[in-house]
């Protein structure tokens, strides 16, 4: 079973990297691009028959993201 955890900055938090990427793309001539949001994902492979969702949730909260500035979202792949 594979869980995918998405982590990205909360809305309103400055993401200087996304800003720099957007500027670069614009300067490369891709005019219609209006916004870029950046994030990370983790594919976590779990070898168990149990439902492991709540554990993944805990890992996401404690380790993979910082709740002060980031949100996460888990999907089962």
């Amino acid at each position: 079973m594979i869980f995918r955890v998405y982590v990205n900055f909360k809305k309103g938090i400055l993401d200087p990297e996304a800003e720099a990427i957007k500027q670069t793309i614009t300067s490369m001539g891709y005019k219609p691009i209006t916004n870029i949001v950046k994030g990370k994902f983790f594919d976590i492979e779990v070898d168990t028959n149990q439902d492991y969702f709540s554990q993944i949730e805990k890992i996401s909260k404690d380790l993979l993201s910082n709740p002060v500035i980031e949100n996460f979202k888990i999907i089962k792949k």
């Binding site: 720099a20 300067s27 490369m28």
Partner: protein, 231 residues
């Protein structure tokens, strides 16, 4: 070296070793280099180009990537084809791999952390104009200061580098031992510096410009003196 030569240092927003490099070049090569802003669309005739260390464009995305989109980088690619010697140090090396003038890629250090320390480089190949004045197997003491200096290349790429004598520097001990204990960042085969097939583009992670003063190692002087001979 005959007459006044023209050496250029390209400055990207976020470059931060440009001054250090300028001082070192001036001191060891006897030429005050020209500083070229990254927005330069046409670089006139120049005898040698340096890409300095630092964090061009904040190292955002991948170190060196965004700098490949600057007009000056397009000029560097054009001039490299004409045989102009080009040297990239640290972030400069990362830019050169990102714009494909050099093979491989520089990924995050093995230990994940930024690392600043003294390292020793072994000259493992001097069959090129840059290093022909340095002895084979001689050891140079330059510091490193980077978080993405882990040189990566696949098997076949590595074989090509080896076959073409493109690997020039390897991390070693003070006495020249090349092994995992003397590999500061996880680079394949301890590779610290390579050149292109045509042997006019050189990239290395350690900082020779930080090894030319009284208070540091002085091995950088040998390095710059060696490359002075080629122009």
């Amino acid at each position: 070296m005959a007459g006044k030569k023209d050496i250029s240092i390209i400055i990207f927003p976020g470059s931060n070793c440009d001054r250090d490099l300028m001082v070192a070049i001036n001191k060891c090569m006897g030429v005050m280099p020209k500083l070229v802003w990254h927005k330069t669309y046409h670089i006139k005739k120049t005898d040698m180009i340096f890409l300095p260390g630092g964090f061009s464009f904040g190292d955002y995305l991948r170190a060196g990537t965004i700098a490949t989109k600057s007009p000056a980088t397009k000029e560097i690619i054009r001039l490299s084809k004409k045989g102009v010697p080009i040297i990239g140090i640290c972030n400069g090396f990362q830019i050169l791999t990102e714009c494909k003038l050099l093979d491989g890629a520089l990924i995050k250090n093995f230990g994940q952390l930024f690392k600043c320390k003294e390292t020793f480089l072994k000259v493992v190949n001097n069959k090129n104009k840059f290093l022909k004045n340095l002895n084979l197997n001689s050891i140079l003491n330059f510091p490193i200061a980077h978080s993405q200096g882990n040189f990566h290349i696949d098997e076949s790429g590595l074989k090509k580098l080896e076959d073409n004598n493109q690997i020039v520097f390897k991390y070693s001990s003070k006495l020249g031992k090349v092994d995992e204990f003397n590999n500061p960042n996880g680079s394949v085969k301890n590779i610290a510096g390579i050149i292109n097939k045509e042997k006019n583009v050189l990239g290395l992670m350690p900082h020779p410009e930080r090894a030319v003063e009284k208070n540091t190692s002085k091995d950088g002087i040998d390095f710059f003196k060696s490359i002075r001979e080629i122009i």
